[in-house]
């Protein structure tokens, strides 16, 4: 994950979970039980995957690996929020990862670490549909705009 684009962070986490033998629904609750999260230093998913394989061979507990990944992602999100200069309000997680309670908890922790206390991070049960909802609403908006312009040309 870079500062601009999540580029399949969810898919990456899914791959890791499969490798660790954890069901997708278990990722979040497991991550929340972690006492000593093992942070992965890699930026790219391929190297991070190698990191995880190393962690497993070093005998790091599954929940600590998952929490480590959540914290690396959340750290990037918090830093991105910081550079926007926004200091208050609510931020909504969108996409499939928004259903991951472990990522949400990690983000809330990282916001405290980055001293961004005025921003509340939340999720929504329908967060996975955010992109589809937005596309449908923008589509309707563009349709209306085009019709408006056409009627103006005709008039």
């Amino acid at each position: 994950m870079t500062s601009q684009c999540a580029s399949g962070s969810g898919q990456f986490l899914e791959n890791i979970a499969r490798y660790l033998g954890v069901a997708i629904e278990e990722i979040g609750p497991l991550s929340k039980t972690s006492q000593n999260p093992e942070k992965s230093s890699s930026i790219c998913a391929v190297l991070a995957e190698t990191d995880v394989i190393n962690m497993v061979s070093r005998g790091i507990a599954t929940q600590d690996i998952l929490k480590g990944i959540h914290l690396s992602m959340a750290g990037r999100l918090a830093k991105l929020l910081k550079v926007t200069g926004i200091t208050k309000g609510t931020v909504l997680l969108t996409g499939g990862l928004a259903l991951d309670v472990g990522l949400l908890a990690a983000l809330q922790e990282e916001l405290v670490n980055e001293k961004i206390t005025g921003i509340e991070a939340v999720s929504h049960p329908d967060s996975i549909y955010a992109g589809a909802i937005g596309a449908a609403l923008w589509g309707a908006f563009r349709h209306n705009r085009l019709r408006e312009l056409q009627s103006r040309v005709a008039a």
């Binding site: 309000g89 499939g96 996975i128 549909y129 589809a132 449908a136 609403l137 589509g139």
Partner: protein, 127 residues
């Protein structure tokens, strides 16, 4: 104001998400939604079946839909009317799901200029 029916198809790396909306003036109705995990299948074919299934669920025909929009990796979906960049669609979706996050900019704007609160003015500018 006439009704506008639109479908949004979000093709991601893990799943294809579809949403069906109907707008009538200021009222927005979310009619149907689908999420289909890709697994080993072809995302483009899955987009097609999701589209057909969501229409069936809402008892509509392709001709009833004014705009079919794709986002994510859906640039190459043949039957779509247009494609939108992911960041703008996710932001728009977030505002729909949780209307409060946009207060920071609406309030900033309304103090700077007199409020023009028509439905068009409240929308974000077109891309």
């Amino acid at each position: 104001m006439t009704t506008v029916t639109s479908i949004g198809i979000d093709i991601g790396s893990g799943a294809v998400k579809t949403a069906l909306f109907r707008q009538d003036g200021d009222s927005t109705e979310w009619l149907a939604k689908r999420v289909e995990r890709i697994r080993q299948r072809d995302p483009m074919g899955l987009a097609r079946t999701s589209y057909e299934e969501i229409l069936e669920e809402a008892r509509l025909k392709p001709g009833d839909v004014e705009y079919t929009a794709t986002t994510g990796e859906g640039e190459n979906v043949k039957f779509a009317t247009g494609h939108f960049y992911s960041m703008t669609t996710h932001a728009r979706g977030a505002i729909y799901l949780r209307p409060t996050p946009r207060r920071w900019w609406t309030s900033a704007r309304s103090t700077a200029a007199p409020s023009t609160s028509t439905s068009a003015a409240r929308c974000l500018p077109p891309r």
